[in-house]
């Protein structure tokens, strides 16, 4: 028993010792922090001079970005290449010294498309001292909106949900919103429909992301866009859509606007092909013409749907690598340089990832060129000033990135594509919605 007693006291003493040691460390750290804070607040001018001096002698600074996205889990087919795009461009910036001697660090973390994981990642990034944050899903962007406001940190999400911007000052959409895309597509439908009022249905993702543009499109219809929306279908995990398609045909639906990720659209298109109800020409009577928003299309859709994708219309603000131009060459070269496979290199989600990183780097570059301290506020101001002559032209979008206090949607133009012979072919020139102003 004595031995046990001795052992107990021994453990107890060690625990107490450790506890006091930790307390001491904590105090030491706290003391140091308060001293540093005091010095910093007293000598801000000195600090600026020191920064300038460091730049002069070539000692660069480290700018930190954070990026939380679905590398695994739902929508990872989009999130994975997106993350590679961000990673590669940041690496490229450092390799090519595009920010001089300063170094760019981007913490990329997987959130598995879960809001709680996103919040955890965001907290971690804040502790790391990030100056700009790249978010991913609609759900998490909406969930963290209050945090972004409190932290006053500029955020560029992969979600183009118009609701992200409501009551928010710090969120910047890289391209026009889903609502804008849906209304633009609908305008195209109305303009090119031949007889009577076009009858449409929406095929959406059962989430905040999917429901995003529904109300705005209904508002546009109520405001005079001559189109009837007969049904809004929230898809499940069906492997066959025969019943759905039959129902839509019975309701005399002619156009199906898809707003979800690629796999459900591929299933829908395959079912339509099997039933022989997919329109061969635009608006073919008695058949269904399928159209999709940004995430409901892209080269991966053709891989998934095969020949069923023929005649599918899709809109986005990004250029595709199937068009050989300067942007496509640059993107493919970047992907090749960092060893990405062909699928990733040609994905519009890779383009998307590169573009958001480009916007962040451009804001840093401009703030740096003005001799400003690189912090959240200066980057926020740089993003807001990105318009008019100061608009930013990434090579991979169909229009310039413009932001202002009244317009926090980056690329304002859209390009319509159609699948022909297994490739998305551009139809006409980039356009912008006229009707969207009426629903604002």
């Amino acid at each position: 028993m004595k031995t046990v007693k001795k052992m107990f006291w021994f453990i107890f003493m060690i625990s107490c010792g450790l506890l006091f040691y930790s307390c001491g460390e904590g105090e030491k750290v706290a003391d140091l922090e308060s001293k540093v804070e005091q010095l910093t607040s007293e000598n801000t001018t000195l600090q600026k001079d020191l920064t300038a001096l460091k730049e002069k002698v070539g000692e660069g600074q480290v700018y930190k970005l954070g990026c939380s996205l679905a590398i695994t889990g739902p929508t990872s087919d989009a999130g994975n290449p997106y993350s590679k795009g961000v990673e590669d461009y940041v690496q490229y910036v450092n390799d090519e010294k595009l920010l001089g001697d300063s170094k760019l660090v981007c913490f990329i973390k997987d959130d598995g498309y879960e809001n709680e994981a996103t919040k955890r990642n965001f907290e971690e990034f804040l502790d790391e001292g990030i100056v700009l944050y790249l978010n991913y899903s609609t759900g998490s962007t909406l969930a963290l909106k209050n945090d972004f406001e409190e932290e006053k940190i500029p955020v560029i999400p992969a979600s183009f949900h118009a609701g992200n911007l409501e009551g928010s000052h710090y969120i910047f959409l890289p391209i026009v919103s889903y609502s804008n895309q849906a209304i633009s597509l609908s305008e195209y439908i109305v303009a090119n429909h031949k007889k009577g009022t076009p009858q449409a249905a929406m095929f959406i993702n059962p989430s905040a992301f999917g429901r995003g543009p529904v109300d705005d499109l209904k508002k546009a219809v109520a405001a005079g866009l001559k189109m009837d929306i007969l049904e809004v279908v929230e898809h499940g995990q069906d492997l066959d859509n025969t019943a759905l398609l039959k129902r839509l045909l019975e309701k005399k639906v002619q156009y199906v606007i898809c707003h979800t990720v690629q796999p459900p659209v591929a299933t829908l298109l395959k079912s339509a092909q099997a039933l022989g109800v997919a329109a061969k020409t635009y608006g073919e009577p008695g058949k269904l013409t399928f159209l999709g928003l940004h995430y409901a299309g892209g080269p991966d859709l053709i891989t998934l749907a095969g020949s069923a994708a023929e005649g599918y219309y899709w809109t986005t603000s990004y250029k595709l690598t199937s068009y050989k131009d300067e942007g496509a060459d640059a993107q493919l070269a970047l992907a090749k340089r960092y060893g990405r496979d062909e699928k990733t290199a040609n994905s519009q989600n890779y383009t998307n990832g590169v573009q958001v990183a480009q916007i962040a780097v451009e804001a840093i570059r401009r703030a740096k060129a003005k001799g400003n301290e690189i912090d959240r506020q200066s980057l926020y101001e740089e993003l807001l000033a990105m318009n008019g002559y100061d608009a930013y032209y990434p090579l991979t979008t169909v229009g310039p990135v413009t932001f202002s206090k009244d317009d926090q949607q980056g690329v304002d133009t859209l390009q319509l594509y159609r699948v022909e012979d297994g490739v998305f072919q551009a139809i006409g020139v980039p356009f912008r919605s006229e009707f969207v102003k009426k629903v604002k």
Binding site: K5, F12, G26, T72, E124
Partner: protein, 364 residues
């Protein structure tokens, strides 16, 4: 009774009262007090990041929920596959007030203890309501009834505009005597609140099991006909177990809403219900200590697997998407292994370790 009140090397009870003591020896009590002191003091001494604190808070909230699930499944023997929905009821109680009154209404920001209590009460009512089929059903049939509740809950939240169709409903920052709790203190504040609730509820459960109300749960679990013969009403006992479990879950839900400063549908899905069940199994069903070990083990495991799958995701191509499968695979594997090799959960390891220390250096 043992002569030495500090150490007991055997059972020397001469009355049931002695056997029912919360702390068998003074040493147990001292260790417990030391543990409490450490739990309350360490965040003030050690520098912890907000992320780490968020994870710890999340574990504590899961402990509150698992204490409730353990009453239902562990002590009363009623399998619930809808526990996340009960937690969701609590969270959405807070969210509903936020929806109606605004997220920064005084009732939410200053009257948060009342809100937590209200969430618990709504959870109790829902628990009792869902438990009503227990009058007629048992075993798997009752489990299906809880599954139905989970489905109805998900459907309601996901489609009703009042609940923002499952999108996050924000909850404002709370206030304390010192003023509004800002971001820097947020997680620490909720650590103390949740820890206090965990301690309070743990004592409540421990005491419950010392009373006839607690013992009747165990009696119904072991043999409901025998319990009936002894004058216990099995139906009422089951409904009461559901109600009690609903209260714990409701409180956990309210804490969740305040900690995350918002309520979204995805935190209360069937997957989460199964996770709760797994936490209870891995911790040790029908044990109080298991309610602490289970959530801690499963949440930490999930985080580690999350990190690992991210590393895997970096090296594998998109088409393989093996990283996505890695998480559920590991999760399932852990449960299967525990069911196969340690059905009594981590609590049993704790029991073995304790008895080893108690008898050391003797083996028997």
């Amino acid at each position: 009774m043992s002569q030495n009140r500090w150490l007991a090397t055997g059972n020397f009870f001469t009355s049931y009262r002695q056997e029912q003591r919360i702390f068998l020896t003074h040493l147990d009590r001292l260790i417990f007090i030391c543990l409490l002191v450490v739990l309350f003091v360490w965040p003030l001494c050690v520098e912890v990041s907000n992320k780490q604190m968020l994870v710890i808070d999340n574990i504590l909230i899961a402990i509150v929920a698992i204490l409730g699930l353990n009453i239902l499944t562990g002590f009363a023997g009623l399998i619930s596959i809808g526990h996340a929905a009960f937690v969701g009821v609590g969270a959405y109680t807070v969210a509903s007030f936020s929806r109606v009154l605004g997220d920064s209404h005084l009732l939410l920001t200053h009257g948060w203890p009342l809100m937590i209590l209200a969430a618990g009460l709504i959870g109790t009512i829902m628990g009792a309501f869902v438990g009503l089929p227990a009058f007629r059903l048992k075993h798997l049939y009752l489990a299906i009834a809880t599954l139905s509740f989970q489905m109805i809950f998900q459907w309601t939240i996901n489609f009703m505009t009042f609940f923002n169709q499952g999108q996050t409903i924000s909850v404002g920052r709370v206030s304390w005597f010192t003023g509004q709790i800002g971001r820097n203190d947020h997680y620490l504040f909720w650590y103390y609140v949740t820890l206090s609730i965990v301690i309070l509820f743990s004592f409540a459960v421990r005491n419950l099991l010392r009373t006839r109300y607690g013992r009747c749960l165990v009696a119904v679990r072991d043999n409901d006909r025998a319990a009936d013969a002894m004058g216990i009403h099995p139906g009422f006992t089951k409904v009461y177990a559901f109600a009690l479990s609903g209260f714990f879950a409701g409180v956990a839900g309210a804490l969740h809403a305040y900690l995350w400063r918002g309520v979204g549908y995805e935190s209360f899905t069937l997957h989460q219900s199964i996770s709760y069940l797994a936490m209870a199994i891995v911790g040790g069903l029908g044990t109080l200590i298991g309610s602490f070990f289970g959530p801690a083990a499963m949440i930490m495991l999930d985080l580690q697997v999350e990190n690992l799958s991210q590393v895997i995701g970096k090296f594998l191509t998109v088409t393989m998407d093996l990283a996505t499968a890695f998480r559920p695979l590991t999760f399932g594997l852990v449960i299967v292994l525990f069911l196969m090799f340690e059905p009594r959960g981590i609590a049993n390891w704790w029991r073995i370790a304790r008895s080893y220390v108690k008898l050391w250096p003797f083996r028997y």
